[in-house]
Amino acid sequence: MGWLFDPAHWSGTTGIPVRMAEHLGYTFVTLLVAALIAIPLGAFVGHTGRGGFLIVGLSNALRALPTTAVLILVVLWAGLGDFPVYVALVLLAIPPIMAGTYAGVRAVDPVTVDAARGVGMRESGVLLRVEIPNALPLVYGGFRGAALQVVATATIAAYTGAGGLGRLVFDGLALQEFGQMLAGAVLVALLAVLVDLAFAGLQRLTVSPGLRPAGTGGKR
């Protein structure tokens, strides 16, 4: 663990803080783009109830797609840089978010949806003000799963020369420096836990207390 605590590795343009910021940058941009694609799709299909098998089939097929291959293919087609990293990671993040949103909207009590229609809400109101808020716990479930996978997999970006904490792993591998590889591995795992904690906090702030399982502080 000596490598990790050497102050020389914590400064400069290739220092650990910079690599960590790059890693977080990949993660957040990826999650934002993936959420913008996956949440509307999952919510729409969940709301209308049509094409559910398509969503399930598509997420399963995407899950089997090896991220390494996608990354390399996009690099071969479009050249080096951050773009191939985003394509590969967004494809990785879409299935869990889409599946979570779809399952969440489907799982909303039909009585509640009926009541919303009964008080005169339009379809858009039913979806945006009733179904999605009620589906949030499952949406977050899918989103946090995606976040974990993206933080872990962003490591691979460094294989094609991009930045992030994967640099430590691949540079360490090239130099046969196990300390550096280990430092990269530990930091990625640590980052994954921190990102998950941050989203757990966000979930607590944005999900209605009425939806919390009994016994976790929510009043029923």
């Binding site: 097929a61 291959a69 792993v169 990625v188």
Partner: protein
Amino acid sequence: MTWIFENWARFWEVTEVHLRLSVVPVVVGFLLAVPLGWWASRSPTARTILFPLANILFTVPSIALIVITPVLLGVKILDEINVIVPLTIYTVALMVRSVADALSAVPGHVTAAANAMGFRPLRRFLTVDFPLALPVTIAGLRVATVSNISMVSVGALVGLGGYGQLFTEGYQTDHTEKVLAGLIGTVVLAVLADGLLLLAGRLLTPWARAGR
């Protein structure tokens, strides 16, 4: 696609390695997860230890685990065990929860009836609890198998075998067809394995369809 047929021998060779590196962890992981899941379904203490531990293990990236394993085990970095051990850990981490949830969901009146008929614990587990838990267990097994098949490729980044070798070679020689061949192989293998497990689940739980 033509690359696959023109280089069939090579393609088949990496397919075999890929299969071995993904199936062995699923089998070993499953065999470890069943007793652990059983333990977690019966003891709250086991749950508070195993579930958070499984979550943490799952956050460790596969490339990191593949790189750390040789240091921890004291083997060479090009040993297949370096992929098998991490993927086994992921399988256990994923399956413990499925098995525990599935066993907890067995209705109390069913286990009570089995007890009343004089089933001993082991026989009750093997002939009542476990078969009833199979649908959820197999659902977990399918997720673990598909993600393993996709993750084996990561091993190639440090020089190990499987379809991932086609990715790295294709990348180094600017050979798109080779990368595509590996990608197609991975997806086909995942779909086949998933279908086989689905079929096995149907054959093993005929009662699940009887009531419909």
